[in-house]
């Protein structure tokens, strides 16, 4: 239980601190914005400094592709076009139950606009059970699919379904495939999972489906993007730190390692988020300059799908749109992606309609979860299979004094 009396007092302190921080933040933001206007040699230098500092800077940098103050209005949308999107949710393995299974529910949506409007909204639940389906295995190495790994498997499944929908699109008509969240599979970048898991999910999964969509996009006007609402990323702000850094290469631990955080020269920009940076610069509908993600996993694993991104100004917020390299380098596809994402947000009251409908199809409510567990228990009981559960699980379900 939560004692709100104690929490309220702590909240008061928090609000006081935020008030003080707000004044400093305004000045830091002003400083950051003043750095966006660079002349050509300065811009070239910045690009080089980013490239040189990738392995020595602890900050995750954005690689500038276009001048930083770039702002591009959306082109007119085509008369006839389709949007496809997927989202997913899951019922994780219940480790208090003796039966090992999980469920992935994929919501998939296709919306056709123009002369012939049509909508296809589907929910596709898939139950995984048994020794083979609930693990990722390579030789004698085995990793159980549950928790964070199940999240990743679900993302790969979302991409697979998106690819399958893309193959069914009419070939001559512009279309945009939208993924919820980031194109970067951050969770695979650390040491959390063994290499064979990364290979299975990324190389034989996510990348394979991106390859197939790229192949399709070479034959038809298909675009692909992922959408992040209210991003908290600071990659561009980090790149601006390099403009303040007095050294040729940002070798932070060597030059500033002895200085506490807050005392380094570039800390005059600390706390500035990319979305705050672009909120004033862009007018509604405009996109920012293009940047490349310099995440290690992207540089090492994404090859031709290297993640690029831009920020998009909506009525009340800035969104981050990520695209693979083959979209970023094709002006027509880039412009189409920008225009269609903005159009989707306008139709969806600030959030892409196709994504929000895919979410509605995918979502598994608390009562759905209960029904799932009950149905499972009934099936097991009917077949006289033991469905023993732990004492801890029973204790949580039964309240007693």
């Amino acid at each position: 239980m939560l004692n709100l009396n104690y929490v309220a007092a702590q909240m008061q302190n928090m609000v006081e601190q935020l008030k003080v921080g707000g004044h400093d933040k305004g000045a830091r933001l002003e400083k950051a914005r003043s750095l966006l206007a660079l002349n050509e040699p300065e811009f070239t230098n910045l690009k080089e400094k980013v490239a040189q500092s990738l392995n020595t800077s602890p900050f995750l940098l954005a690689g500038p592709v276009e001048p930083l103050y770039t702002h591009v209005p959306p082109i007119s949308i085509p008369e006839d076009f389709s949007i496809i999107a997927t989202d997913g949710s899951q019922i994780d393995v219940d480790r208090h139950q003796s039966t090992r299974c999980y469920l992935i529910n994929i919501g998939q949506v296709r919306l056709d606009y123009g002369q012939k409007t049509e909508a296809k909204l589907e929910s596709l639940p898939l139950l995984y059970a048994g020794d083979n389906d609930t693990v990722i295995a390579s030789g004698h190495q085995v990793q159980m699919v549950e928790g964070p790994l199940l999240n990743l498997k679900r993302s790969v499944d979302e991409c697979r379904h998106l690819k399958e929908m893309a193959t069914e699109l009419p070939t001559g008509q512009p279309a945009l495939a939208v993924i919820d969240g980031s194109l970067i599979m951050w969770q695979l970048s650390g040491k959390e999972f063994p290499d064979f898991v990364v290979t299975e999910l990324l190389d034989n999964g996510f990348m394979k489906y991106l390859d197939e969509m790229q192949a399709l996009a070479q034959k038809q006007p298909l675009s692909l993007a992922s959408y992040i609402s209210f991003p908290r990323s600071v990659n561009v702000a980090n790149t601006l730190r390099l403009l303040i850094c007095p050294n040729n290469t940002a070798d932070c631990s060597r030059h500033c390692g002895y200085k506490p955080v807050g005392q380094r020269p570039c800390d005059v920009l600390s706390g500035v988020q990319d979305q705050e940076l672009f909120f004033e610069l862009l007018v509604t509908g405009e996109r920012s300059a293009l940047f490349t993600s310099q995440a290690k996993i992207v540089r090492e694993k994404y090859a031709g799908h290297a993640v690029h991104f831009f920020y998009l100004k909506l009525e009340d917020e800035i969104a981050r749109v990520e695209i693979p390299q083959w979209i970023a380098r094709d002006k027509q596809k880039l412009d189409l992606t920008h225009a269609l994402i903005f159009d989707q947000c306008q139709r969806g009251n600030g959030y892409p309609v196709a994504l929000s409908e895919a979410h509605e199809q995918a979502v598994v409510s608390a009562s759905d979860r209960e029904n799932f567990q009950q149905l499972l228990a009934t099936w097991l009981a009917d077949e006289h299979i033991s469905s023993a559960s732990s004492a801890k699980s029973s204790s949580k379900k039964t309240k007693w004094l």
Binding site: V109, L111, Y113, T117, A119, L121, R347, V353, E360
Partner: protein, 199 residues
């Protein structure tokens, strides 16, 4: 097996001994108030009259919002938001007024309610004429406790049924006499219905 030529209106999604509710296959393809419809329950063919219809969002938690401020027409709202057709549904509720068993029409409640997912058809003119040879069903309608005012419902049923009769005027006059016998004690109500079915 139903004949293919019959108009299938929808499918039963809720049923009790006295009423059933059906979902239309197409948005807004609702039968008019008072339409005589039928559905099968085993060997019984159930007859019912439409007393209520509504269109709402499929999910209880999602409330429709106004979308047409900048659109030139209502059609344009649906063109700009193609998903709406899939997220809204039209339903109608029907009051059971009789059933057919072994070829014989009985104007009293059937032994069992309609089955869920049973198809609901609009009755043909011949079926309407066959069903309305007698007026016993009016007793069920007069005593019905539906949300729709029963006077309005009775009048709507009789107006629609009269169109399938050889002599619509005579049908309505006879129905009026039947109602007079049923509602002898309630002149105001009788008058209200008669005014609504005046030939």
């Amino acid at each position: 097996m139903q004949e293919l030529s019959q108009t299938r209106l929808g499918e039963v999604i809720q049923a009790s001994s006295t009423t059933f509710c059906a979902q239309c296959y197409e948005l807004y393809s609702l039968p008019p108030l008072g339409t005589l419809v039928k559905t099968n329950e085993g060997d019984n063919e159930l007859y019912a009259v439409v007393y209520q219809a509504f269109t709402e969002g499929i999910e209880p938690g999602r409330k429709p919002i106004a979308r047409g401020k900048d659109e030139p027409s209502e059609e344009a709202v649906f063109k700009a938001n193609p998903q709406l057709v899939k997220l809204l549904r039209s339903e109608f509720a029907a009051l059971v007024v009789g059933h057919k068993r072994d070829g014989r029409v009985n104007q009293y409640l059937p032994p069992r309610p309609a089955r869920l997912h049973g198809f609901v058809y609009e009755c043909s003119s011949e079926e309407i004429a066959g069903f309305s040879r007698c007026y016993t069903f009016l007793t069920l309608l007069v005593n019905a406790k539906a949300e729709t005012p029963s006077d309005e419902l009775i009048a709507a049923v009789l107006r629609l049924m009269s169109a399938s009769q050889e002599d619509p005027r005579a049908f309505l006059v006879n129905a009026g006499k039947e109602l007079a016998a049923l509602l002898g004690q309630d002149y105001a109500r009788l008058k209200a219905i008669l005014e609504r079915i005046k030939p």
